[in-house]
Each structure stands twice: as structure tokens, then as C-alpha cells.
Amino acid sequence: MSFAVELKDVRKSFGKTEIIRGASLQVNAGERVAIIGPNGAGKSTLFNLISGRFAPTSGEILLNGERIDGLKPYEVNRRGLARSFQVSNLFHRLTVFENVRCAVLWSMGYKYAFWKFLADLDDANDRADEVLEMLKLDRKRDTQVMNLTYAEQRALEIGLTIAGGSNVILLDEPTAGMSKSETKRFIQLIREVTEGKTLLTVEHDMGVVFGLADKIAVLVYGEVIAYDEPEAVRANQRVQEAYLGSVLAEQQAAAATAGA
């Protein structure tokens, strides 16, 4: 059986600096994996490589056993992988509803159709409304995105990612900038919408990490130094040194495990 996502000794350099130095990772279908690591370790870069924004310098990336490295983002997306961005990346002059609908059109097979009216595409419209409802954004359905609050934009960012029904979802710091209670609600939401799907997420908030992940991968200086169950990672000496090892992280993690 092939893995949902598999990285084989992936490397990426920008100019002379090598940012990803041979990362390997295997994610089973249906697993939730959190990627943690210090700032600049290359987490977002790794996401960029997987989602096709950059091509790796060397190594292989496989999605459900098929090689996808070097493909364009849209080609990767069409093979069933969607991602969110660390900084909200939306269609700011369109309404909330239109944003979500744009994200479902391709996956519903409408492609570049100019012989069909959007209003008649019941399945796409229903799906978009369904997503909005899940995100609790149905109230803002017809608001232009640029008028949304930060948290709403973050929510929509995730909405766009999951709307297309991709089976592999990549979330880059989905709860950044949110307050505690919102974060909680969000974890819940993410759990719901990614039920049965493969999820990779980058987070610095240990609360989220331990609340969400089945497995944790620790990325330091472009290498995966640990990949295991949360508790095992937490106990890992190297991880402690490189990343956690702080009162804050301990507290957050403890709170999450207690709550969960």
C-alpha cells in the first residue's frame, strides 16, 4: 500500500543556501500529522514543495504513490491535495460565498466552462453553502472578503482549502493570531472537516499540536529529526533541546492533553 504523502530525501536550495536538507516523511492516509520546528526550519517551504509552489532541487515527493514533484500547483491540486497559507491568501474583492465557490468549481468538474451558468450549478452552490455553514460564516455569505475580520479571514482560508474535497490537506499555522477560545473552536472545526482525510499541519501552539495530531514530525534545519506519537516526541531529548524545552510549551501541551 502506498502512503498518502511520501517524501524521499527531498532537498531544496535557494541560491547557495540549502533550506531543506534531505527530508523524508511518510504519512498514511487518514492520519493527522503536525509539523513543528523552530522558525525558519523550513516548514512552510516544505509545504510549498509538496503543493507545487516550488520544485524540489532533488528528491521525490509522492502523493498516493504518484510522483508530484515538479508539477504545477494546479496539477497537484487536481490530484487531490489542497493547502492553506500562513498569511491569508483570498480573493478580496469577491464575496465570501464566491470565494468558496471558486474553490469547488474545478473539483466538481466545471473547469473552464463558459457555457454554463453558475446559478444553475446546484451541486457547487450547495457545497459552497455547506462549507460556509460549517465555518459559521453563513451570516457573512455576501460580504466582500476585504471587509472581514482577521479571524473570519482565517476561517475562510481554511474553508477554501477544504471546500474542494481534497483528500490531503495542508494547513500552515491555521490558528495564528487567534485567541484561546477561538483556537479551541478552530481545532474542533478542523477535526470535523478533516474527518477521514489526511492532514498535515504546521503549528507553533503546542496546545493545537497536541490537541490535533496523531503524529508529530519535528523539522529542524531542514531535516526531520523526529517523527512519532505525540508523547514520544514530547519525551525526545533532541526535540526538547531544539524546540520545546520551555515552560510555555510544556504548559500548553499539558493543557491540551488534559482537555482532550
Binding site: G40, S44, G177, L248
Partner: protein, 231 residues
Amino acid sequence: MLHIENLHAFYGKSHVLHGVHMDVKPGEIVSLLGRNGSGRSTTVKTVMGLVDGQGSVKWKGEEILGHHAFDIAHRGIGYVPENRDIFPKLTVHQNLMLGQKKQGQSGRWSFDDMYQLFPRLKERQHTEAGVLSGGEQQMLTLCRTLMGDPDLIMIDEPTEGLAPKIVEQVAEYLNELKRRGVSVLLVEQKLTIALQISTRCYVMGHGRIVFEGTPDDLRTNAYIRKEWLEV
């Protein structure tokens, strides 16, 4: 040093601040807490002259409300925005250069100080800032403002998106600022940090100050924490 009285602020038509009072004294770390959307960032921006406000903001005894931002900056207030407004097309070093108010000016801080503080930045010195990782950008904004040698630095959620270890580093660093005689107005979400390092705290709710006191006061005041900070 900074004295805010009855400050009101508007975004176009919407009234966001409803009479904020606040003081920052020399050598203090003051934290401004509150839920999302309570108006903390707006307060700081209004002081900086980036949002129109009414009322009074006095800096070293002079009224600065209504002045241009660059003027306020020249008077010695530094501002670190919340959404990492780095200049994406400039290199890290150029970003820092723009922090200086006069070219080649030497104040409390030099480039080397900054690079020592965050070695990561030194490594990326000649990279376009736009491609930095989220955390690196956060470090850069902070350093950039310090290069302007402010007497008061207003920092909006500096620990956002930083790895836990770096967060603690930042906290230490703010203490270092204080030691060097710079006052800090810290807008925070992470209570742990804020309470740990600040001299005094304000809590905001719906555009008003709803609590004022020492960290210890806040720790013991369960009502405020529950009602206004959702902890």
C-alpha cells in the same frame, strides 16, 4: 512619559475607541491585554498617528495627537506592527537600514547588536525579506524599529508565530530593553508572557480600559480574566 487621555478613534464611520486612558512611565514594561477586536492595536496605531483620533496623547509633555507618523517617530516613539509589515522586496539589511531615522546614525543599537540578538537574521542578511519565514519576519520587524533608537517602543503581538523557545527569548529581550532604559508598551495575547515580564497591565474591552493594575492584581482578579480575557 506617554500620557493618553480620553482617546477616541474612528475607522471611517465606525467608532472603535471610546475614551481610553493610559500612562507609560520611563523604564516600564506596560502590557495591554484584551480579546480580539477589543481595540488594542487601534490604540497603538492612534498614538503613532496612523489612525485619526480625538482626545489627547501627550508625549514627554507635548501633545502629539494629529501629528504625522514620521514626526511622532522622530520624537522617539517606535512601533512594531502586528501583521509583520516588512518590506518584502528589500533585503534584510536594507530593512534594517530603513529603521534608522538618519542614514548612518548610531544610537543605542548597531547592526551588529541586532545580528547578535537573532543570529538567524545575520545568516539571511542579503535575502529578500519577503521570503523569510514567518518567525524571521517577526524578528526583523522588531529589530528594524529598534534601529530607530526609540525611547518608547510599542509592540503589537511580537510573539505571534514564534516557536516557543524564541518566545521566551523575546521576553528576555524585552527585559533587556527595559534595562537599557527603553519603555515598552506591549500588546499581547499570551497572558503567561505578559504577566511574567510587565510592570503594569491594562485590560481593554470594547474600546475602553476595563482594568488597570499590576500583574499580581490581575492574576488574582478572576472576574476580569474570565469576563475580558476568556482564560
